[in-house]
């Protein structure tokens, strides 16, 4: 009577279960809340744990790529919210959640509150870029609001001293974690504002969980920062952490050390740029001088030209005149074979100039001789 009954193999049955579970909308990409137990991190990097509550437990697998993207791995006893999909593992016949994301329980609520406050303050204009105060380039006094103990204040002091040794650092200690933190930070900021001559304020805290940094999402703190007359640099947590204080601060630095770097210039850079300016000034002065040297050389050339030209012209005229004078030169006549006879200083041109017994001087090309007039006879 049962011969007609359909008999499944184990595999067939498991396949059916697998199909049903893995195609159920409620079991895919869904959030489940519970407490962690049996936490194992395999050498492959995959993480296995059990999520349980008072009534049930479910196996969870977090593959390596997801496990690596999680900031802090959960530990047994943690109350978690897990997002994942239910799958079936046929070889063992069990089902498990393949985890895609995790968060600590309540974090979802916190994040929601954070987003609400952020959008409200943004609409109020507390994050307005136009309201942000510029940081003084060369501060004399820097206020630091942070925990008086721990690495943060040490890192800030070290960084500031290294870059800009002569700046005064005023620490206004605050509790930066827990219920009292926001009020403590507000008080510390107010104390700094009461001090005269404050140029920049650094608000800093080291890295931590979202809960650790929660005090920086306080609304009163945000408003205190917004009305703070001194520019505020926030350096809270790590690169990836954003708090309301970061949005409302005049400048956000990714870490406390980065905040210190923003607060003061690097004196080495200043020195370098001063040196550069010196070189620039020298170069432009040298250019100025070189240009004028050329100018003067040019003047000298033109001046000499201007004085030499008429000189050359005069010399030319002189040459012409002296050539014409040369034509009258007696020596030229003598060289052509003539002689010239002088009586006293006058050349003889007429018989009337001499009489018998006069002494006359005759010049020839190669010398002169003296003669005595023996007779004078005029032409008829």
């Amino acid at each position: 009577m049962q011969t007609k009954m359909n008999i499944y193999s184990v595999t067939q049955l498991t396949q059916t279960i697998k199909f049903l579970l893995e195609n159920s909308e409620t079991l895919q990409n869904t959030w489940v809340s519970g407490e962690i137990s049996n936490f194992t991190k395999h050498s492959s990097g995959h993480v296995y744990f059990t999520l349980k509550d008072d009534g049930a437990a479910i196996a969870c697998v977090m593959f390596r790529n997801v496990a690596m993207s999680v900031a802090t791995l959960p530990k047994p006893g943690d109350k978690l919210e897990v997002m994942g999909s239910v799958t079936v593992y046929p070889p063992r016949g069990n089902y498990q959640v393949i985890v895609q994301a995790i968060r600590l329980r309540g974090q979802g609520d916190l994040y929601q509150k954070f987003l609400e406050l952020k959008s409200r303050l943004e609409q109020e204009g507390l994050f307005d870029p136009l309201k942000k105060k510029p940081l003084p380039a060369f501060p004399r006094t820097i206020g630091v609001v942070t925990s008086p103990t721990g690495a943060v204040i040490r890192d800030i002091i070290k960084t500031v001293r290294r870059r800009y040794p002569h700046v005064k650092i005023v620490l206004s200690p605050a509790t930066v974690q827990g219920d009292q933190a926001a009020a403590s930070i507000i008080r510390a900021l107010e104390l700094l504002n009461e001090k005269p001559g404050m140029d920049t304020i650094i608000l800093a805290r080291g890295g931590g969980s979202m809960e650790d940094l929660w005090c920086f999402n306080d609304e009163s703190l945000a408003r205190t920062i917004a009305v703070c007359p001194v520019p505020v640099i926030s350096g809270i947590g790590h690169e990836t952490d954003f708090t309301i204080a970061d949005f409302v601060a005049d400048r956000r630095a990714s870490t406390p050390t980065a905040a210190a770097e923003l607060a003061v210039p690097d004196s080495k850079e200043i020195r370098k740029s001063l040196q550069q300016s010196g070189i620039q000034i020298r170069k432009s002065l040298q250019n100025f001088i070189d240009f004028r040297k050329q100018l003067i050389d040019d003047f000298q050339f033109r001046l000499e030209q201007a004085v030499m030209n008429p000189l050359e012209y005069a010399r030319g005229e002189l040459a012409v005149l002296s050539a014409r004078l040369d034509a009258f030169d007696v020596r030229k006549t003598l060289q052509r074979g003539y002689t010239i006879t002088l009586a006293g200083k006058k050349a003889l041109r007429s018989v009337k100039q001499v009489k018998r017994g006069d002494l006359v001087m005759t010049m020839a090309a190669d010398g002169q001789f003296e003669s005595e007039i023996r007779s004078v006879k005029a032409d008829a």
């Binding site: 020195r271 040196q275 010196g278 020298r282 002065l285 040298q286 001088i289 004028r292 040297k293 100018l295 003067i296 003047f299 000298q300 033109r302 001046l303 000499e304 030209q305 201007a306 004085v307 008429p310 005069a314």
Partner: protein, 76 residues
């Protein structure tokens, strides 16, 4: 030059420009030309000396500046 008017390179250059223009115009007679030339030569000498001295001063100052930079950097 405290005994005479205060030296000014630009005034010298201005005067030189004028002298050269005047001489090149051909208007002055020969004697005037020589006088202008003498005046111009003096101006040129003075300007050259001034520029040489300025250059030396700059060299001296830059050398001093570079030394002080080097000194401060050495401390670190």
């Amino acid at each position: 030059m405290p005994e005479t008017k205060k030296f000014s390179l630009e005034t010298h250059l201005k005067r030189l420009r004028k002298i050269v223009e005047e001489m090149q115009s051909g208007k002055p007679d020969f004697d005037e030309n020589i006088k202008l030339f003498q005046e111009g030569s003096v101006l040129i000498q003075e300007a050259k000396i001034f520029l040489d001295e300025s250059e030396m001063l700059i060299r001296k100052l830059t050398a001093a500046g570079e030394e002080s930079y080097a000194g401060e950097l050495d401390e670190e």
